[in-house]
Every structure is written in structure tokens, then in C-alpha cells.
């Protein structure tokens, strides 16, 4: 894949570090090749050091996490077409899940989004878009009512989503900062409602250096979003630079009769953005 476009790296499975490592362990790989092929395992794609145990320590404070598919589910593409705009959908399979965390293991900022769901909100599904910086495992960790953690994992092939400049039109991004859009969809289940919140924001990663000043262009990203129906929380999100430019959340929830959807978003530079829409009248 030719990668001069904004957000893509060449479609090769290795970044600089992995290439060096791969050369040095070539002999071991050759010996193990037959075994790998027989097992059908994606050994060639496995990161050199699995960052997951470290992330369990950092993000989840070494709490026990059980790999288990009955609590949360994850939909993610096997191969991302645009590494800076990768759609991922978390389904809350078991009722009563109050927290779900999306982790992109190999990203510079692996904790992509931590969602908390309102008690009566009945959130069934939430989709967002993220940046994927290199071939990686993606985990979703869901917390059940008893406080136990359960995880699912998918492998996603993409590269360059964080390090590549993602903003296609910087002038427009500056002019539109904080603007929001609300959309409603016909829900499959009549007792539920499906909606989408979109926020204009560059979500600058802070990983780009200004070649003239040699200083890093400061990170500027949405770090918190709260979505309510009336006063009742539907979900809140804490996140970082792994979210795509113009963060967006599409979610299924149980309406409680409230007349309005209210959104409040904060960014890491103190920006506060608010939106409110009558339910039934999308913007």
C-alpha cells in the first residue's frame, strides 16, 4: 500500500523496532517455523514483548482479568483501511456491565477509551473510531456488577495512525473546534434508541515535532465526554490521543422519557464544549 497519504504507513508488518528484533531472532524463527505453520498461529505477527501484562498492571492495577466472551464483545476490522479512522464497536452482552475499557496494546497511548455507563441507561452497544499505530492486539475489559473483570481481544493490522499527521485540513480544524452534531437512527429494538454524538476536535497526538523550533507541537485532545438524557447519565468516556480526529460515539441505549440529550466534552487544554438537542429532533 503506498503510504504518502496522510494517515498510513506502508502496509508492512514491521516498524523499526520489530525489524531489528526480527533479524536477530531469525534463526530461532526458522527452527520454529514448522511448528508455527502447523499450529496455524500468527507467530510472525506477535509483538516481540507482549505489552498486555504491563498494561494490566498500569491500567487495571493487576486485578484479575478473565478472558471471557460472555460479558463484552468487540467488533474491529482485521485490517484497517485508514489507520487514523478505525471503527471499533463494544457490545455489552451481560446486563449490568457498568465499565468497559478499550485498550490498543501497541499504541503510544494504549488506553484508548474508558466508558462508564449510567445505572438505568441500558447501554447495549457503543462504537467509536480510533487510531492504530502498529499491528496490535486490541482488548476490551468489561466490569460486571460484582466488580469482576472480563476481557476479549482482537488482532488489528494497521500502522501509522498515531505518528502520521492525521489532520487533512488544519485551517478548517481550527475554525470548527468544539462544534457538535447529534444523529438518531431507527433502532432494531423498539424499546431501545440508537444515536450518535460527533465532536469537532483535532485530537492532536503531541507526537509531531515542529522542525523549526524543535519543540513538540502540544497534544490537544478530548479527554472527557459525558452524554445524558435529561439529567441521567447514559455514558461517560475518558480517553486520549488514540481516539480519531473528530471523536465520535454511536450508541444504543434505553430511553427513559427524557426530552433532551445533553453532551459535555472537555479537552486537555481546558476547553469545554457543550451541546443539547431535543430527543426526536436530530441536528
Amino acid at each position: 500500500m503506498s503510504p504518502w497519504t496522510a494517515s498510513l504507513q506502508p502496509r508492512t508488518p514491521r516498524n523499526e523496532n520489530e525489524r531489528t528484533y526480527a533479524r536477530s531472532r531469525l534463526h530461532r524463527l526458522a527452527a520454529a517455523a514448522a511448528l508455527c505453520l502447523a499450529a496455524g498461529a500468527a507467530l510472525a505477527q506477535t509483538p516481540k514483548i507482549d505489552p498486555w501484562p504491563g498494561l494490566v498492571a498500569d491500567i487495571f492495577h493487576d486485578r484479575a482479568i478473565r478472558p471471557h466472551e460472555g460479558v463484552v464483545a468487540l467488533q474491529a476490522p482485521v485490517r484497517a483501511e485508514d489507520a487514523a479512522i478505525v471503527p471499533m464497536t463494544i457490545s455489552l452482552v451481560e446486563p449490568g456491565v457498568r465499565v468497559a475499557t478499550l485498550v490498543i496494546d501497541e499504541n503510544p497511548m494504549p488506553m484508548a477509551a474508558a466508558f462508564s455507563f449510567g445505572a438505568g441507561a441500558g447501554v447495549a452497544k457503543i462504537e467509536t473510531r480510533v487510531r492504530v499505530n502498529s499491528y496490535t492486539n486490541v482488548h476490551v475489559v468489561g466490569q460486571t456488577a460484582d466488580g469482576a473483570l472480563h476481557s476479549v481481544v482482537k488482532f488489528v493490522k494497521a500502522s501509522g495512525g498515531c505518528s502520521a499527521p492525521a489532520i487533512k485540513d488544519q485551517d478548517e480544524a481550527d475554525a470548527n473546534l468544539g462544534k457538535m452534531k447529534y444523529r438518531e437512527f431507527t433502532s432494531e429494538n423498539p424499546a431501545l434508541r440508537e444515536a450518535q454524538i460527533m465532536i469537532r476536535h483535532p485530537n492532536n497526538s503531541g507526537m509531531q515535532m515542529d522542525p523549526i523550533t524543535r519543540a513538540y507541537i502540544p497534544a490537544h485532545y478530548v479527554d472527557k465526554v459525558e452524554v445524558r438524557q435529561g439529567d441521567a447519565l447514559i455514558f461517560s468516556m475518558e480517553g486520549g490521543i488514540s481516539l480519531s480526529e473528530d471523536p465520535t460515539f454511536r450508541f444504543v441505549y434505553k430511553p427513559d422519557g427524557a426530552k433532551t440529550i445533553r453532551v459535555e466534552a472537555h479537552d486537555n487544554q481546558g476547553g469545554v464544549f457543550k451541546g443539547e438537542w431535543p430527543i426526536g429532533e436530530a441536528s
Binding site: 503510504p3 504518502w4 514491521r14 476490522p77 479512522i85 499527521p165 485540513d169 460527533m198
Partner: protein, 307 residues
């Protein structure tokens, strides 16, 4: 059968001699106007990044070069070939936009004393994307990338600028975000030749790395430019104008139409990109390398339109 074989052999030998003598193909498409056709391929070590169309316009006093290629090696070959066709000094090196296949060869022209010219956004685009391009192309291009030094423009175009090559004035026009956010075209009114840069793709699937709607709007404005022939950024080195725009307009129209329909019926991004614009597949090369990314970025852009 034998005759055909002999003919093929003679033709092959002719090509061998021609390329050995020339090295870098430069065709005079109009008096004093030269164009080089890049390969329809991805940048690689094998092709030295030679995948974009380049050009030159020769006036009575001086030359303007339009884009420099995908590697220092290609830029040097281009310069050598140009110097065989004209001894006039190169006064300007114009970059049509920021992508590596058009600017990596700039370094080969730095010693000529030419002024580097680009869209007002080009210095910023090169500063923000340059380091990423240099590192990400290492895999595909290997050591050819190590020789690349990015040379930004010292002369930028706000909207329109005329450059004088001695008895021959060329018109440079800066566009709103379309293919990229730094698109610049070059018009030679004397011959009626337009250098479109990547605002026009032939054969090679169009790439949207700026704005889908912007690209459509700019195409409509380009059509009004008075020229008889165009040098696109990719594909045939020269094509009749403005008919050359039609295939690309169809691609962008079909993609936009399908994305809008998907958005209107509430499809998710993942669902939509599977089919949006896919009817265009038979018309383009490298479709599988770029189309889904165009669709993804296009969906995210069009989602913001009022329903």
C-alpha cells in the same frame, strides 16, 4: 510467426538503445513543454519512486520544472535529461503538492540556484508530514530515502502568481483543500497546456487526501481553465482537456453518492465502505490500494453534512 518474432526483437532492441541513450524519458508534448510519465505503481526501490508525472516549461530565458520525482536519484536523472534538451538555466522548481513522489527529488535541483515554489500551505505541509514520509518510506525505498533532503518553497502562492520565463509567462494557481491541502496547478497559456498535479488522476485511482467535497468543487472550477491539453499527476503523460476530467469526476461522484445514501439510511462506517463506490473498480488501477481509504475518509467527512 517468425516475422512477428523478428519484429518484436527489433522493437525490443530499439527500446534498449533508446533507453540506454536517454535513461529518463522526457517527451516534448508542445513546443518548449516537456513531460515525463511515471509508472502506475507504488513507490519502491525498483522504480526509484518514479510513479508521478513530471514536467518542464522552457521560455526564452529560463526553465520552470514542475515536480521532481520520488527520490534524489530520479531527480538527478530528470535534471540530466532536461539539460540535454536545453541549456537554459532552471529559474523555478514548482511543486504541485506535498506528496513524496512529487517532492523527494527536490534536493537534486537545489544546486541549480532555482527558486522553489509552492502553495501557501506547502511549507507547513512539508514540516508536519516530511519526517513521517522519510521514516515511513524507508521500508519500501530502502537507502534511496536516505539521500532525500526535503526542500521547501521559498516562494509561495496565495491564490495566483505569474512567473516569467522570458517571453513566456506561466500562471500558478493555489486551490482550496481538494486532493491535499496544498494543491497548485501550472498553466502555460502559450501552448494551452495545464499541469494539474494530483488534481487529476488518469488510470491510477484518484486519491483523496484532503477533502472529497473540496475535490469535487475544484474539479468544476478546473474545467473552466482554458487549455487544450493536460498533464495529470498520474497516468498518461498528456491528455485532451477538459475531457480528461470526466473519469475522475465519475469516480468521485459515485463514491459521494453511495456514501451519502449509506449515511442517510444510518449505515455504520464499517458497513458503508464495503460497497461505497465499488462500481468504479474496473475503471482504475491500484483500486485495492487506495479506494477503501478514500471511502473511509469520505464517510467521516460527509457524516457532518446536514441530513
Amino acid at each position: 510467426m517468425l516475422q512477428r518474432t523478428i519484429r518484436r526483437l527489433v522493437f525490443a532492441l530499439f527500446c534498449l538503445f533508446a533507453s540506454a541513450a536517454n535513461g529518463f524519458e522526457l517527451t516534448e508534448i508542445a513546443p518548449g513543454v516537456f513531460a515525463h510519465q511515471g509508472q502506475t505503481a507504488l513507490m519502491s526501490r525498483d522504480n526509484s519512486g518514479d510513479i508521478a508525472n513530471l514536467g518542464a516549461i522552457v521560455g526564452e530565458e529560463a526553465i520552470a520544472v514542475i515536480d521532481t520525482g520520488g527520490s534524489r536519484a530520479e531527480g538527478e536523472a530528470f535534471l540530466a535529461a532536461l539539460q540535454q534538451r536545453s541549456t537554459k538555466p532552471i529559474r523555478y522548481v514548482v511543486n504541485t503538492h506535498v506528496h513524496p513522489d512529487h517532492i523527494f527529488g527536490n534536493i537534486a535541483f537545489r544546486g541549480t540556484g532555482a527558486v522553489f515554489v509552492g502553495h501557501r500551505n506547502l511549507p507547513r505541509a512539508m514540516a508536519t508530514r516530511g519526517p513521517h514520509y522519510l521514516s515511513s518510506f524507508r521500508e519500501a525505498m530502502g537507502p534511496l530515502v536516505d539521500d532525500v533532503i526535503l526542500v521547501p518553497p521559498s516562494l509561495t502562492v496565495e491564490r495566483e502568481t505569474t512567473l516569467d520565463l522570458g517571453g513566456r509567462k506561466i500562471v500558478l494557481e493555489a486551490w482550496r483543500t481538494a486532493h491535499s491541502d496544498a494543491d497548485l496547478t501550472v498553466l502555460d497559456p502559450q501552448s494551452g497546456t495545464l499541469f494539474a498535479g494530483d488534481l487529476l488522476f488518469l488510470r491510477h485511482v484518484p486519491i483523496v487526501d484532503g477533502s472529497l467535497l473540496g475535490f469535487l468543487a475544484v474539479i468544476d472550477r478546473l474545467r473552466a481553465i482554458e487549455a487544450v491539453r493536460v498533464v495529470p499527476g498520474h497516468g498518461l503523460a498528456v491528455a485532451p482537456w477538459p475531457q480528461a476530467l470526466d473519469a475522475q469526476k465519475a469516480y468521485l461522484d459515485h463514491l459521494t453518492r453511495d456514501l451519502r445514501a449509506d449515511i442517510a439510511r444510518g449505515a455504520t462506517l464499517a458497513e458503508s465502505v464495503k460497497t461505497a463506490g465499488s462500481s468504479e473498480r474496473p475503471n482504475w488501477r491500484l483500486f485495492d490500494d487506495y479506494h477503501l481509504r478514500n471511502a473511509t475518509a469520505g464517510f467521516a467527512e460527509l457524516e457532518w453534512e446536514a441530513p
